[in-house]
């Protein structure tokens, strides 16, 4: 039992949250294992971002308990980089606890190698493309001793082709540096390509309405039968299936 517990990165027990009269989260239970990539999908405005804020500790829920093991960092949709710092300084934020200068330098070099942005060390974020910026954000979150990444629609501000490329990139980066990931998206294809487990959230107040384990090896093509099957099930759950009727 105790051996099992150490494998758990995040636990939510009976978490409910509301803003005044608006109930956003309703008795949510969630357990994320170490190294697992859990994707949360759900209708817009269902409380996905509130859930991430609860997980990161930025919001304390009205009731229920949140437990996590290790350092949590969030990757945002956009503008999460400090524009007054260079790319290297931004990534360096993740290495603040590394005091040894040579060690820091070595770590930074490795990260730049990893995200294929060598030569951009002294650029500022506003000089980079959207995809490059997101790669820098991910590198910053991966730097040093982080354990859990919360990703809040990290690719949704990118164009379609860049988004596809970033999914493959993320899988590659996580193979190099294994982390527990909670990934929020409204893109069902993205969810099916990335997830070890997809959790579908209901309308507000959100609870988990469906859990779907996808164990096909990664990276997965968007045309992979496992991906298509998962998309099909999620769409059905969300009531977006073509045969489900218009619902309007």
């Amino acid at each position: 039992m105790s051996a099992n517990l150490t494998n758990i990165a995040l636990t939510l027990t009976n978490v409910s949250h509301s803003y005044g009269d608006v109930h956003v989260l309703n008795n949510l239970d969630l357990t994320v294992k170490q190294g697992e990539l859990v994707v949360l999908v759900g209708p817009s405005g269902c409380g996905k971002t509130t859930l991430l804020n609860v997980l990161s500790g930025f919001i304390k829920p009205v009731s229920g308990t949140v437990k996590h093991h290790g350092v949590i960092r969030t990757v945002y949709q956009q503008d999460g980089l400090f524009p007054w710092l260079t790319v290297a300084e931004n990534i360096g934020m993740g290495l603040r606890e590394v005091k040894n200068e040579t060690q820091r330098k070595k770590e930074l070099d490795e990260l730049f190698e990893l995200i294929h942005l060598k030569g951009f060390e002294n650029h500022y974020p506003h000089e980079l493309s959207g995809g490059m910026k997101q790669r820098v954000e991910i590198a910053r979150a991966l730097a040093g001793h982080s354990d859990i990444l919360l990703m809040d629609e990290p690719f949704s501000a990118l164009d379609y082709q860049t988004r596809l490329r970033m999914r493959t990139e993320l899988i590659r980066l996580l193979k190099e540096r294994n982390r527990t990931v909670v990934f929020v998206t409204h893109d069902i294809e993205e969810a099916a390509q990335l997830a070890d487990r997809v959790l579908v959230l209901s309308n507000r107040p959100a609870h988990i309405s469906k859990e779907l384990v996808i164990d096909a090896p990664k990276p997965r093509e968007s045309t992979n039968p496992a991906v298509i099957n998962a998309m099909d099930q999620v769409l059905k759950q969300l009531g977006l299936h073509v045969n489900a009727g218009t619902g309007f």
């Binding site: 990161s56 930025f58 949590i72 960092r73 969030t74 945002y76 503008d79 999460g80 400090f82 524009p83 007054w84 710092l85 260079t86 934020m93 993740g94 603040r96 500022y124 974020p125 506003h126």
Partner: protein, 261 residues
């Protein structure tokens, strides 16, 4: 014309075009003088003004006045910046204090420094002090308000990121809040530095025996409008030159982002 097209204008044209506009203005002035719509004592000719400029320069009075005014402006402005920026940072971070102080700050912002002249004389007598006091008053409130609202409008995402990477207390202020508002602080400084120059004429009307503002005042009393105009030209030119220097601050690599979106 859109932005990219504007960037294509060559350096030569960037110099030639403004010079042409200035010459055009002097031309209109000259023609107005030649038509004699106004009697000579009401509107000096460009030649009169140029002669007076040379004269004031030759006697050394102009240089002395420039130094005197620059000193007052610099001291008043620096005192104001040293106090206004921390106050603005503090108010920007505390909503309750902002609500409490904002109406008062705005109230004082709308009071012309001229209204303070009696107090400037009574409290600071003569010399540099009343002028410095007036410049301080004129620049302090706009600078507090611009710093305060810049801090209040920092996107909350920066604070979330800061929390993730353990920025707390003093470090949060110096490594997140301050750099996040630095572009707007620089803009605020440029604007209030402009105000300082606008105020100098009024500020030196009282208790001063030199300075560019006093020079205009003195010329008026002696009905030497040629001298008054030459001092006006000096004030405008110095203002522009110093603003060009302050504009260089906006080219620092860690603030450029604030002007490019």
């Amino acid at each position: 014309m859109n932005q990219p097209a504007a960037k294509k204008i060559s350096t030569a044209r960037r110099i030639i075009l403004p010079v042409a506009v200035s010459l055009l203005l002097v031309g209109i002035w000259q023609i107005t003088c030649l038509t004699e719509i106004f009697p000579h004592y009401m509107l000096p000719t460009p030649a009169d003004v140029f002669a007076s400029l040379q004269e004031e320069f030759a006697t050394g009075r102009l240089l002395n006045d420039i130094v005197a005014s620059m000193w007052r402006i610099t001291v008043g402005f620096i005192l104001s910046a040293i106090l206004a920026i921390p106050v603005g940072l503090w108010l920007g971070n505390h909503l309750m204090m902002r609500v409490a102080f904002s109406p008062m700050l705005n109230f004082f912002r709308f009071l012309s420094p001229l209204a303070w002249i009696p107090f400037a004389i009574l409290w600071f007598h003569i010399g540099d002090k009343p002028a410095i006091f007036l410049i301080f008053l004129a620049t302090f409130f706009p600078l507090v308000i611009s710093t305060m609202s810049a801090v209040a409008n920092i996107p909350s995402i920066y604070y979330r990121v800061a929390k993730d990477y353990n920025y707390k207390g003093r470090e949060l202020l110096t490594k997140v809040t301050l750099p996040a508002v630095l572009p707007q602080i620089i803009t605020g400084l440029r604007v209030s530095y402009g105000i300082a120059w606008v105020v100098i004429v009024a500020a030196e009307m009282v208790g001063c025996q030199d300075g560019l503002g006093y020079g205009i005042w003195d010329a008026r009393n002696g009905l030497r409008l040629d001298t008054a105009v030459s001092y006006m030209i000096v004030i405008g030119t110095l203002g522009v030159l110093v603003d060009r220097l302050l504009a260089q601050l906006t080219k620092m690599p860690n603030v450029k982002w604030g002007y490019e979106r």
